[in-house]
Amino acid sequence: MKKPQQSTSNQDEGDALDALGDKIKAAQTAHSPDIEQERTGWAVGIRYASDFSAAVIVGGLIGFGFDKLVNTMPWGMLVGIIFGFMAGTRNIVRTAKEMSAETDPGQDLQEDETDIP
């Protein structure tokens, strides 16, 4: 300790620290930062948009690569984009689920994790 407190004995100091610890715990639970509440609509929008568009782009690219390899020009890309759309929708549904789980405190994601070897 940098600041010696001559007036308190070791015992008192421990008690004081415990009390301080309890106080800090109480204060922390009283107002933990509610980041989800402050989330801007802009950020949510970009999150959905990027989730969706990324899947479409990746699906299209996979299809395009397949086309390049097998020389079936438009078809692979078309199928890839359609699959990308589906995957994007799936991404959005997953994101929406995650977000509603975050804002709803009653639904903890995975607290009691059993170890998988």
Binding site: M1, K2, I35, R47, D51, S53, A55, V58, E98, D115
Partner: protein, 254 residues
């Protein structure tokens, strides 16, 4: 538009010092690299001075250092479980770097490294590489269960679910990087645009009409705290999604 007021100009990369080349690659030191160095130096200084005293009752710096530690540790514990704490150094470094890069970018005349998609994409690829390596190393081929969910008919899985899961997985680094990049880019353009309007109106209008410049200036003032929030939020979102992905790697089949 007058050149100094161009809202895109702030994202230009300049070379600092002499040109360096390795083979055909230009590896010169740029303003982007410079800001990364500044961010890393600031983080190191902050953590060094925050932890050097090790006082039982923390001072200001130590409090902030402890809060940032606990913030990330709690985040990892709640999203990736206890065994996710092994990745604390990586996730903490990611968070601090993105946070400092975003925040430094808000200072006028500073460059925002995270407003370039190649930077955020590199960060996202680091995350994805970690997820893949850890996933296969920890679970061997069981990691592929991520693409083979139980409770779905096999035909449906082969035709639909598995391709979708694979595309969805591969799209993660892209969406991960686009999210951060788009937020930082759009926010900075918007700020610069309104600030530029204020200057243009003040310089361009005559007499009493100059008062009109107050409107865009007020927007700039309003947007700045919003941008600070976004800068923090995007660092937070990036890290929490990293935690989620790492949780996938540690416990596939969820």
């Amino acid at each position: 538009m007058a050149d100094p007021l161009d809202p895109i100009k702030q994202f230009e990369i300049h070379r600092m010092g002499s040109e360096l080349k390795i083979g055909n690659f230009d590896v010169s030191f740029t303003n982007s690299a410079f800001m990364m160095v500044v961010a890393v130096a600031l983080i190191s200084a902050f953590m060094f001075f925050g932890t050097s005293k090790k006082a039982l009752v923390p001072g200001r710096f130590q409090s902030i250092a402890e809060i940032s530690y606990e913030f990330i540790a709690d985040m990892i514990r709640s999203t990736a479980g206890k065994d996710g704490l092994k990745f604390f150094p990586f996730i903490f470094a990611l968070f601090m770097f993105i946070l400092f890069a975003n925040m430094l970018g808000l200072i006028p005349f500073f460059f925002t490294t995270t407003s370039h998609i190649i930077v955020t994409f590199a960060l996202a690829m680091m995350v994805m590489t970690t997820v893949l390596v850890v996933g296969f190393w920890k679970n061997r081929l069981k990691f592929l269960k991520l693409f083979w969910p139980s409770g779905v008919p096999v035909l449906l899985k082969v035709l639909l679910v598995t391709p979708l899961e694979i595309i969805s997985f591969l799209s993660r680094p892209l969406s991960h990087s686009v999210r951060l990049w788009a937020n930082m880019l759009a926010g900075h353009i918007m700020l610069k645009l309104f600030a530029g309007f204020a200057i243009m109106m003040f310089a361009g209008l005559a007499g009493a009409a100059k008062v009109g410049a107050i409107a865009p200036f007020a927007m700039t003032v309003i947007l700045t705290p919003l941008e600070i929030l976004v800068a923090f939020l995007q660092a937070y979102v990036f890290t929490i999604l990293t935690c989620v992905y790492i949780s996938d790697a540690l416990h596939p089949g969820h």
